[in-house]
């Protein structure tokens, strides 16, 4: 299983860092890509991840109304919704993609959200594009 997480450099990266400091374990199938802000995440990045064989992807960003860059997380939500629509229409399923809002002190959310994505992959099966070498 391969899950790609696009992590904003503030709330979400802080939460994942804190999960590390507190030794909160989560699956090594989750690969994180750091972004300066969730607003940097493009629909194309998300679709690219699926094309390269990711079974699921998520965007981690600050809590709504608490974005370090004012409204990057709102932009990210719009783009995630757009990408979800595309994933649904090409038959991969919108549920392979999710957006999570994390404050930098919410390390406890990290194992929850990674488990959520892994269980969705189990439910939906592997990404059929993943087999393509």
């Amino acid at each position: 299983m391969r899950v790609v997480g696009f992590i904003c450099g503030h709330g979400a990266e802080g939460a994942f860092d804190q999960a590390g400091e507190r030794r909160i374990q989560y699956s090594p199938d989750v690969m994180l890509i750091m972004m300066p802000c969730a607003g940097r995440v493009d629909v194309l990045h998300i679709l690219r991840a699926f094309r390269e064989g990711a079974d699921a992807a998520f965007v981690g960003c600050c809590l709504e109304g608490n974005c370090h860059h004012v409204y990057g997380n709102i932009e990210a939500r719009k783009r995630v919704e757009q990408a979800q629509g595309i994933l649904e229409s090409v038959g991969l399923g919108a549920r392979r993609l999710e957006i999570f809002h994390l404050a930098s002190n919410q390390a406890w959310k990290v194992p929850q959200l990674t488990e959520e994505m892994l269980s969705r992959v189990q439910e939906l099966g592997p990404n059929p594009l993943g087999a393509r070498a």
Binding site: G20, G39, L44, G53, V70
Partner: protein, 532 residues
């Protein structure tokens, strides 16, 4: 073989405590990657010796960029910058592979090394595509601060700035400082210390006060602003390095018809025995806010003067911090009731009223009231300041600060700081904290010596720009504009590198340094085990 010249430095503490897992296989893995000239284990890179070893390693290898495999970039990036500079490289020519918080600490012992390999590969692929960003370190041209405000908050900020040796100009629109009556002082000592601050500021040799003066415009860049002041004797310019906005807030209890709340002692003679205090805030949506100290004090006063009076405070939460805790206990002991509400309550009738709300603890409530008061904090001049300083307002009509916890006092324009009032912040001690935060941010900018400009910034490729204005509308920092050539331009001095415009741009005309489009795709491919 590629012609890249990349070095990989692995900190011996990168995997946590030494020996958490064997770093030698990781080192040889990194060394085997295409374009990697050298991969070295560095004994504790944040120590002085570690830094020297790192610099030596970089110099000897002839690398022009490097990857640090260590702890989170949040902790030691400033150190890696100085290592890069000492090795004669660009201070941003590196990438951090967080193998500690990202792998060693969060995965089982046997899985950590494998994950670390992927993280290092992602960092190498990213740094391979690194290109030199516009980046300079500049001295602030002007070591003085303008404080715009008319009362205690401005005085508190000015005192803190002057204490740091910065020349401070207080710009007061009115004929003099407002009396500090709208603040909440818990005791006499606080009131006296506030008055002392105002006297101190009036006499301080570094503080100049400009009365009857307004700011008409603010141009320039952080460290070198030019304000145009409008005074009685005509317009004039003021140079300053930073600006602190300290508008005087107004915290009042008002009835539904807008009249001021009656004195607590008059309630009985007015025949008002059932009182509901609602939180202020936007009247639409679910934006119901907190119960404020003003309402709490009023409730306590009324309840202690008139036994049997029925007072309810409604709000999303109750913030009674510090000395307000005692006030809250007192009010509670005297029978004041607090209701948590998550949605806006509805008020019916013309007095007596019926207030309907949902309290998650007791369910739906319908409460009769003789008097309904609204407790609100407003900043009267916020709109004017926002247009002069080109700052956005938030949903409550207050000047927006970016992030109250991580970047207190900062506005979207670097160099312009704001003392912000949230509901509940009218207590003297809180106001002093807000003023202190804004003042310390301003002095940090001006006293650090050099200011950085550039780094993670977006850039427009003019040929591709279709002038759709998307970036101009989106940019939270007003850094994007249409330049003289008729194409979008992003101002390096204003850009804060969030990258929102890059992903928005329909023509893909914008890219950002440090998080470039190609870099992210390379990272994705590396993360998913695809070759370059």
């Amino acid at each position: 073989m590629s012609e890249d010249r990349i070095a990989v430095l692995i900190c011996s503490w990168g995997a946590g405590e030494p020996g958490a897992f064997d770093l030698e296989p990781l080192r040889s893995f990194a060394a085997s990657m295409d374009g990697v000239l050298t991969a070295q284990l560095i004994e504790r890179m944040c120590s002085e010796k570690g830094q020297k070893d790192a610099v030596k390693g970089l110099r000897e290898s002839g690398a022009d960029r490097f990857v640090v495999a260590a702890c989170s970039p949040k902790t030691k990036s400033w150190l890696h910058r100085s290592i890069a500079t000492a090795a004669g490289l660009h201070p941003l020519a590196f990438e951090v592979a967080n193998i500690r918080e990202g792998a060693a600490y969060v995965h089982a012992r046997d899985l950590g090394p494998r994950k670390s390999e992927v993280i290092i590969r992602m960092a190498v692929e990213k740094v391979r595509l690194w290109s030199e960003p516009p980046f300079e370190e500049e001295m602030p041209a002007c070591r003085s601060v303008a404080v715009v405000g008319e009362g205690l908050t401005a005085a508190l900020a000015a005192r803190d700035l002057a204490a740091q040796g910065l020349e401070t100009d207080i710009i007061v629109p009115g004929p003099g400082f407002a009396s500090p009556s709208s603040y909440i002082f818990i005791n006499r000592a606080q009131r006296e210390s506030a008055l002392k601050v105002m006297r101190e500021v009036a006499l301080h040799p570094l503080v100049r006060t400009h009365l009857h003066t307004k700011v008409r415009s603010c141009e320039g860049r952080p460290g070198d602003f030019e304000l145009i002041l409008e005074a009685e004797e005509g317009p004039r310019a003021l140079e300053c390095g930073a600006v602190v906005l300290a508008p005087e807030p107004c915290n009042e209890l008002r009835g539904l018809d807008g009249s001021l709340a009656p004195e607590a002692e008059d309630l009985i003679s007015l025949g008002m025995r059932r009182i509901v205090i609602l939180p202020g805030g936007p009247s639409s949506g679910t934006g119901c806010s907190c119960m404020t100290p003003r309402g709490l004090l009023y409730a306590l006063e009324a309840a202690s003067m008139t036994p049997g009076i029925e007072i309810r405070l409604l709000g999303r939460e109750l913030r009674a911090l510090g000395s307000m805790e005692e006030v809250q206990h007192g009010a509670q002991r005297r029978g004041v009731r607090f209701h948590r509400i998550e949605a806006e309550p509805s008020v019916r009738g013309q007095g007596p009223y019926t207030v309907e709300f949902h309290d998650p603890l007791v369910g739906a409530c319908s409460v009769p009231a003789d008097l309904v008061l609204v407790d609100s904090v407003t900043v009267p001049r916020a709109g004017e300041l926002a247009s002069v300083f080109r700052l956005p307002l938030d949903e409550k009509g207050e000047l927006m600060s970016i992030e109250s916890r991580l970047r207190p006092g900062e506005t979207v324009r670097r160099g312009i700081y704001v003392c912000r009032y949230r509901v509940g912040n009218m207590i003297y001690e809180d106001v002093a904290l807000e003023a202190g935060a804004a003042a310390s941010r301003a002095s940090e900018l001006l006293l650090r010596g050099a200011m950085e400009i550039g780094g993670t910034v977006a850039e427009v490729e003019a040929e591709k720009c279709s002038v759709c204005l998307g970036c101009v509308r989106l940019c939270p920092y007003s850094a994007a504009r249409i330049g003289e050539a008729g194409k979008a331009v992003i101002d390096v001095e204003l850009c804060q590198g969030c990258g929102s415009c890059v992903s928005l741009c329909p023509s893909k005309a914008i890219d950002i340094y440090q998080y470039g489009e190609a870099q992210i795709i390379a990272q994705e491919r590396a993360a998913l085990g695809r070759s370059r």
